[in-house]
Structures are given as structure tokens and as C-alpha cells.
């Protein structure tokens, strides 16, 4: 009995000595990109045999992991900022942010001022917008989420001005919050929203400045609230990372991007 235990301990110690495989790629970051990346990585792995580990956690984590050398590539679901110029960005896809309400909400398309009034708490009932006489449940995203940064930037808002009833993290949380409350309004990635609306989740995507929130509008470049999905790297790219970037840009992968309702970047 005791000998067995020591044997097991030795095995573990031996395994601890193993170095991680050198041809492994680690990709961390945006939870918007992670599921798409996981599936693309699965294919890349099957073709080339290079192991690709995809870790989620938000764009901010992607950037810090690349800076610390913990990840080879970081997933960042927005354009790089001024203070992030030490990193190289590789655009892999485009996405937009859609305002969503419950499917039963009869509200007409909202104007820019109305949306700002709703999110700053100045407009607090659907009755003023042609809906029921019920308070508006304002769903907002937490700090550090790039969806939130883009939303605030687009509407010229400061996060302190926002009067939210519900602050959420992930896209799916936003979907669940709005689908479960006929009087809620929120904003999530178009990709996620279209997927869920197509799969019988009671959601409605509101047009923005007269442009419908759809992939077609995004493709034509008409949709006003759009963003690029980036992979970022620091310093010289590993050979496998280069191969992966080429693989991601290959038009043969377009169907996977479409399955997640993203637009592959054209190069």
C-alpha cells in the first residue's frame, strides 16, 4: 500500500519534469473571439499537428498575457489603442455591436439621442417610446470589456454617466438578461445576437441610425458600430504562429467564421 503511494508520487514528480511541448501555441483573451478561435484551432491542429491552446478571459487579459510572455497571441476584440503600440495587431475578422430588446417589445427604431437618454437614466419608461408603461431595464457591460468601451465611445458617453440596472460581463449573460425580461435593453456582439435570434431566443435586434444590424450591412461597411477582431503579438512571431495567421486568412475557413456570425477579414 505504502509502496504504491510512493510509486504514484514518483510518477507525478517525473511528469513535473516534462517540459511543455515547444511547438505549442498559447492564445488567450477576448471571450467574444474564443469560441471561434477554439474551433479554428481544432482544424489547424488536425491539419498541421501543432497544438493550439485557446484560453478565454477578456481582451485585457489577452494583452497582458502577451506582454508577460504567457501567450504567443492575444485575442483583442477591438482596434489597438495608442498605449498598445508595443504590440502588433493582425485583423482576423469584423464584428458589430447590436442593441437588443425582447422580441415582444414593440418599440420603434431608437435615435441616437434616445439611446443616450435611456443609458443616462433620463428616459426611464417605455411608454415614452411607444411601448408599455413600464420602467426600462438598462443592461450595461462591465469595465474592461471592449464591447463596453466601443459602445461608450460611439455614443460619446462616460462610464460614470451611465445609470445601469444590470451590469454584466459576457455576451451570453447579456442575451439571457434581455431574453428573460420583456422590458430590458442591452447591447452585445452582432454575431452572438443573430445566432441566438436565429435559434428561437426571443430577441430583436434594433437598427442603428437606420441601418439594420445584420452581417450584410456590416460587410458593406454601412453599420456604424463595428469593430475589428484582432490577434496581437509582441516581437518576432514564432513560425507556428505565422502558419496559424496564414491559416486564419485562408478563404477556405470562411464558413467557420460565418457559423459564428463574424466576417472574415479580407486581405
Amino acid at each position: 500500500m505504502q509502496q504504491k503511494m510512493w510509486g504514484a508520487l514518483l510518477c507525478v514528480l517525473a511528469m513535473m519534469g516534462c517540459q511543455p511541448a515547444t511547438d505549442k501555441l498559447v492564445i488567450t483573451g477576448s471571450s467574444t473571439i474564443a469560441p471561434l478561435m477554439a474551433e479554428l484551432a481544432e482544424r489547424f491542429e488536425a491539419q498541421t499537428g501543432v497544438q493550439v491552446d485557446v484560453q478565454s478571459g477578456g481582451s485585457g487579459r489577452g494583452i497582458s498575457d502577451v506582454r508577460q510572455g504567457l501567450a504567443d497571441l492575444g485575442m483583442v476584440s477591438r482596434a489597438l489603442k495608442q498605449d498598445e503600440q508595443d504590440l502588433a495587431g493582425h485583423v482576423i475578422a469584423r464584428d458589430g455591436i447590436a442593441l437588443i430588446v425582447h422580441a415582444e417589445n414593440p418599440v420603434a427604431p431608437l435615435t441616437r439621442d434616445q439611446i443616450i437618454a435611456i443609458y443616462t437614466g433620463k428616459l426611464d419608461s417605455w411608454s415614452l417610446l411607444g411601448g408599455a408603461d413600464r420602467p426600462i431595464t438598462v443592461v450595461h457591460k462591465a469595465d474592461g470589456r471592449s464591447t463596453q468601451e466601443l459602445f461608450l465611445e460611439h455614443f460619446g458617453l462616460d462610464n460614470d454617466q451611465v445609470r445601469a440596472d444590470l451590469v454584466i460581463g459576457e455576451n451570453q449573460q447579456g442575451i439571457k438578461a434581455v431574453a428573460g425580461d420583456p422590458y430590458a435593453i442591452g447591447y452585445v456582439s452582432i454575431g452572438t445576437a443573430v445566432y441566438e435570434a436565429d435559434h428561437d431566443v426571443p430577441l430583436r435586434l434594433l437598427p442603428l441610425q437606420g441601418v439594420p444590424a445584420s452581417l450584410a450591412a456590416l460587410e458593406q461597411g454601412d453599420y456604424p458600430l463595428s469593430r475589428e477582431l484582432n490577434l496581437v503579438s509582441r516581437g518576432e512571431l514564432k513560425r507556428q504562429a505565422k502558419a496559424l495567421l496564414d491559416f486564419l486568412a485562408d478563404p477556405a475557413q470562411a464558413e467557420i467564421y460565418h457559423a459564428y456570425y463574424f466576417l472574415p477579414a479580407t486581405r
Partner: protein, 276 residues
């Protein structure tokens, strides 16, 4: 029965019902959402399409490895600390209160803190990266206080007269620990271990930043591997269309935890006198 007694009995039963109903509803909603994909194949297949298709075989393997690393570290360390506390630190002394207080405080630290520490220390400083080893070690840190406290209680519950009898026979210290103390406390220690396993299995926050999200079957403890709880979180939060499989995975996890709890009850029965 007098009417105040009856009233107390009825209101007690109602309160119990009020607690049981939400739990029943929770299980029911998991069943409704997850039963469509739950099957034997679900347990035997590896996931694909970011978890939207396939099963959870690779995750069961990763979860098992993470748990194994966690227990290999936490059980010997925890038992050692508990032995020190019960043998060297008499109950009721200032030192015992201090050490116990610190352990209780550590047990109350939110698990995300252990997760962030594990990420910073094991993954970055020690260079273990996102791996089952990082995750298991961070998890071990989290369950250690619980393990130590429950093992300590089990050891302290061994009657003092046994110790007196041992000393009368001039048995050595090690002999006393090995032949009498630990065997006597074994059921209680086992309960502590099983409770720790339950806590570790249900844990998500510690593993998000340490063991990571990778869906592949692990080749070694240096590989990243996704635990069941992380899978549920990711499918429900990040993956469009992942809810059915999240619910099914939840059912599997609940089933494992129920089995563990039944084990606790079985272990408890022979240990007359040791109560929790």
C-alpha cells in the same frame, strides 16, 4: 399537541419546503435543458466545435487529473498540519485559537483570490503556464484549510483515555500516531477528504486562470485542461448555443457530487461517536 407546538411544526415543514422547492426547480430546469443531449455517448465522446458538439470525455479526464494533483498535495500536507495541531497545540490555548482563526480566515477567502494568486504565482512566477499542475496546486491551496480543520477535529475527537492507555503501555509517540490515533480518526479524515473533493469539483474561479480552457485530452500535467465546472461556465457564458450541453454537463457534475455525498454518509456510519 398544543396549538403553539403544532404551529411550530407546520411552519417548520413549510420552511423546509420553501428551501426544497427552488432546488427541485433547479434540477428540473437542468433536466429540461440538458436531457436532449445527455446520453452514454455524451460521456464517452470528446467535445468539438468549442463544446457545441460532442461530449465531455476529455473534460472528465482533465477534471480527474486536476483533482489528483490537488489531492496528492493537499492530503499529505493537510494531514501533517492537522497532526501538528492536534498533537503539539493543546486545544483552548492562545496558539490554538490563533492558528485556528487564521485557518478559518483562509477558508473564507473568496476562491477567485486563490485563482488570481495561482495565475500570478504558479502560472507566471514558477513558469508552469496554463496547466493542470498550476490548477491542481491552486486548488490544493484553496481546499487545504478545510482539509486541515476537518482532519484536526477528527484527530481531537479521539478519546483522551486512549492516549492515557497508550502512555500506560509506554507506546512510542510514532506508534501511537500510526497505530491508534490515525486509524481511530480515519472515518473523520475520510469525510474531510471527500468534502474537499466536493469543494474542488464544484470550483470554477480558481481554475479559470490556472488550468485553463483547453478541450483536448491532456498528455501530461503540463498541458492545459478544462474542468467540468469551467466547461459549464464557458458554455453558458461565452458559446452561443452552448446552453443544452452546459445543462447536461451540470447534471453530470451534480450526479458526481451526490454520489460523493452518499459516500460521506457511508463512511460516517461506522464512526460512532465522531459527529459532524
Amino acid at each position: 399537541m398544543r396549538w403553539p407546538d403544532r404551529l411550530a411544526a407546520v411552519s417548520g415543514a413549510l420552511l423546509l419546503l420553501a428551501v426544497l422547492v427552488p432546488m427541485g426547480l433547479m434540477l428540473w430546469s437542468l433536466l429540461v435543458q440538458g436531457s436532449g443531449v445527455l446520453s452514454v455517448d455524451f460521456l464517452l465522446e470528446d467535445p468539438s466545435q468549442a463544446g457545441r458538439a460532442g461530449g465531455i470525455a476529455a473534460l472528465l479526464i482533465s477534471t480527474g487529473w486536476i483533482l489528483a494533483v490537488c489531492l496528492l498535495v493537499a492530503v499529505p500536507l493537510g494531514l501533517g498540519c492537522a497532526l501538528y495541531l492536534s498533537e503539539q497545540v493543546p486545544a483552548g490555548t492562545r496558539r490554538a485559537q490563533w492558528l485556528g482563526g487564521v485557518l478559518d480566515m483562509l477558508a473564507a477567502v473568496p476562491s477567485i483570490v486563490y485563482g488570481l494568486f495561482g495565475y500570478q504565482f504558479f502560472a507566471i512566477s514558477l513558469g508552469l503556464g496554463f496547466s493542470i499542475l498550476s490548477g491542481g496546486l491552486a486548488l490544493a491551496l484553496m481546499v487545504l484549510p478545510l482539509m486541515i480543520r476537518s482532519a484536526e477535529q477528527a484527530l481531537r475527537a479521539v478519546p483522551f483515555s486512549y492516549r492515557q492507555a497508550g502512555e500506560a503501555l509506554s507506546i512510542s509517540r510514532w506508534g501511537w500516531v500510526k497505530r491508534i490515533l490515525i486509524p481511530q480518526a480515519a472515518p473523520g479524515i475520510a469525510v474531510g477528504i471527500i468534502l474537499s473533493i466536493g469543494r474542488a469539483l464544484a470550483e470554477t474561479a480558481v481554475l479559470l486562470f490556472t488550468a485553463g480552457y483547453v478541450l483536448r485530452r491532456p498528455d501530461s500535467v503540463m498541458d492545459s485542461g478544462r474542468a467540468l465546472s469551467v466547461h459549464i461556465y464557458d458554455l453558458a457564458m461565452n458559446v452561443p448555443g452552448g446552453m443544452a450541453r452546459a445543462a447536461a454537463t451540470g447534471l453530470v457534475l451534480v450526479a458526481i457530487l451526490v454520489i460523493l455525498n452518499l459516500l460521506v454518509r457511508r463512511w460516517l456510519r461506522p464512526a460512532q461517536g465522531v459527529l459532524y
